[in-house]
Symmetry: C2
Subunit: 171 residues, 2 copies
DNA sequence: TCAAGAATGTTATATTATATCCTTCCACAT
DNA sequence: ATGTGGAAGGATATAATATAACATTCTTGA
């Protein structure tokens, strides 16, 4: 029995035109399975928030989610509603928080918990999650070799994505 | 002519008992020289804010600075006063911002601008700046090899400092 | 069917940060 | 020495992000 893990989303697609509904659907399906396996409840609200976070490959603020969630509703949602859902998704490893932007982004490979390395475009905000296990490990080693005991690493790299570099050189 | 650079503050002292006034005075003197050399104005206010940020080896919030600054004043300072001073100090590389804590900490080697790697104790909040040029370079290389153009790196490592590890094992 | 706990709703407030406009100060040229 | 322009700081208001506390509803399993 070989239940092969779904191939990891190629995050580089974040930079190119693509059928983004595939990204969303894939993320939602995967989240459903992951929560089932862990006995966690991916409620309608949580799923909806996850979907909203996945509306783009750019980090989304909690209040953006709140606004989208409330759109067309008779009674708009309140902040705790969104923050609680985001907290749940963070705990399950389904999204990451981008501290430098106070924003959230869907995790592109949520199957195993991990610290992310994020490449954040300063121009278009498109953010790609890099698989940099080795670099993280090296950092941890450097930290721990000083007597520190690492529990979490936060790495956010700002700069220009390939597309925005091109545009810059066009001028 | 060999105007040797002052030895870098040994940041590991952050974890041990030490004469902290030395840290503060050294930071202030160094800042004075650096600003002179760059033709920047380290005004009384800015110097005072820098001193307040340096009151400990823990990141300090802007509103903490604000409170300390206002203490005993007839009329308390307003947020922009502090944020402007902090912005100046950030620009001059005299302090760093810790995004995961929304707080600021004095830079332990401000002579040359650099991205920091911070070891943040989750228990006592003591934060040490690590000199990890190689690790940062590796990360940059990893990022740039994907076509990204890095301009800034943000690395914050949370965990337990040596002291707090000992205390934890005492129980 | 009921009880316990999880999830969500609701209201209020805390915390962090910025916009805007006005006044004061300082370096420099006249 | 005096005026001038720009930088710095004061003051007021408000934006943006996040949480506390408590009430209600929903789910699940005994
Ligand atoms: Zn996509
Ligand atoms: Zn871009
Ligand atoms: Zn010290
Ligand atoms: Zn500690």
């Amino acid at each position: 029995m070989t239940t092969t893990v779904e191939p990891v989303l190629h995050e580089s697609r974040a930079y190119t035109a693509h059928d983004h509904t595939t990204c969303i659907n894939s993320a939602l399906e995967r989240a459903t399975v992951i929560c089932q396996e862990k006995g966690q409840r991916l409620t309608a609200l949580r799923k909806q928030v996850l979907e909203l976070v996945w509306q783009s490959h750019k980090p989304v603020g909690a209040y953006d989610v709140l606004a989208m969630l409330s759109k067309g509703q008779e009674r708009p949602a309140a902040p705790p509603t969104v923050y609680r859902a985001l907290d749940f998704l963070l705990e399950q490893g389904l999204i990451h928080r981008i501290a430098s932007l106070n924003a959230f982004i869907g995790c592109s490979c949520p199957d195993t918990p991990h610290a992310g390395v994020f490449l954040i475009c300063e121009k278009c905000r498109t953010t790609r999650e890099l698989d940099s296990h080795d670099n993280i490990q090296n950092l941890k080693n450097a930290a721990d070799s000083t007597g520190f005991k690492t529990s979490k690493t936060l790495i956010e790299i700002s700069g220009l994505c390939p597309c925005c570099q091109e545009e810059a050189s066009d001028e």
